[in-house]
Symmetry: C2
Subunit: 197 residues, 2 copies
DNA sequence: AAACTGAACATTTTGTTGATTGTTCATCAT
DNA sequence: ATGATGAACAATCAACAAAATGTTCAGTTT
């Protein structure tokens, strides 16, 4: 079995596991079921993934591409940096809120990964900063935003300030409308700043 | 028994319950224990509080006075509105983080109230906005901050942007130093705004 | 009549048991 | 030798019984 075959099997495992995760949730999906779906033995799964959690993580990683595409397309929009920045946050809020709202199963998966693999969350935040930084850089070059020597840090701080909207479920605030309005106001605050000009 | 006696008994109950809450936590404190401490019957407690959770809420409310005093004293500091605003957030971050860090029991209490009585959380946030608004108003009058027609909404948005620092335990970020640095940066972001002047 | 009690009730928590599940590894098949 | 298996193992979960707890209220005390 060469490396290509191995990769192909990994993909098949991810697909089978994903189907189960979506239908029955992370906890109620068993390794033997995944194996049975693929007509292989339970033990064999461990030649491709070190643990069930790693399957979940790889599955989540694969499905990041949706978010990735969304962020990329917003970053490329023919709009001002300010508009793209707010659109970025609006889109992510809607995306995660809706996702979690309509699929308890996906939420369970996300919770399990977040709990057992905190580093995964950090990787995702770091990845988002790539897109944020790009928008910020544009804005600065266009003369819209004030110059800043550490754009990545700036992106980090924007993430801090919008944390509430990234993990809406944590703050038991269950109305998307409220969150949307709060996001508008918060972004406005960030944009305008408080200091009189 | 007149109203004063009744109030006095309420206070005694709160004191007894508080001792138990602090030592053993909310869940491990029973109504019969509280009653026994006061040499009264279990049933009698219910003539003073409708439920155990209401005792917890009243206890928390009584201990808000610490926070209240802190916010009041910071609001009255002979410093600029900007400095008071950041000091306000610094103090609350330190206060809640340290409190939770050194007493798992208090955290448990807070969680129970937050879960079963979401309205309590909102009341506290609304109360904080009184102090925030006062600082903002000062800042605007001094010409430091830009005028704003809805100061309470402005305070709300600042709360949104600093939510991460108000409930640090929710975001599994366990280093106070990191949080402090992030808070500085976030406040800076809020102050300066992004738009070039 | 008003203040209070403690047994009664329903609900929740705890403890325990057996079954299930994630993971490993000696073994078999190719 | 390499790929794969499934029984074995320890850890976790599910289900049920037992105990404890929050709450109520008929009844007692003052």
């Amino acid at each position: 079995m060469d490396m290509d075959d191995k990769e192909q099997t990994r993909q098949k495992i991810l697909a089978a596991a994903g189907r189960r995760f979506q239908h029955y949730g992370y906890a109620k999906t068993t390794m033997s079921e995944i194996a049975a779906d693929l007509k292989m033995s339970t033990g064999n799964l461990y030649r491709f993934f070190p643990s069930k959690l790693d399957i979940a993580e790889a599955y989540a990683l694969a499905h990041e591409s949706d978010e990735e595409a969304m962020m990329a397309s917003i970053g490329a929009l023919p709009k001002s940096a300010a508009e793209r920045l707010i659109e970025h946050h609006r889109a992510l809020l809607d995306y995660t809120f809706t996702m979690i709202d309509e699929s308890q199963k996906i939420f369970e998966l996300a919770q399990a990964i977040g709990r057992e693999r905190p580093s995964y969350v950090n990787r995702r935040l770091a990845n988002e900063r790539v897109y944020l930084s790009s928008i910020l850089k544009d804005g600065i070059e266009d003369g819209l935003f004030a110059p800043n020597e550490d754009i990545n840090r700036l992106a980090e701080m924007i993430q801090c300030a919008t944390m509430k909207f990234r993990y809406p479920q944590l703050h038991n605030c269950f109305s998307l409308d409220t969150l949307r309005r709060e996001l508008e106001g918060t972004m406005d605050l960030i944009f305008k700043g408080l200091i009189k000009r």
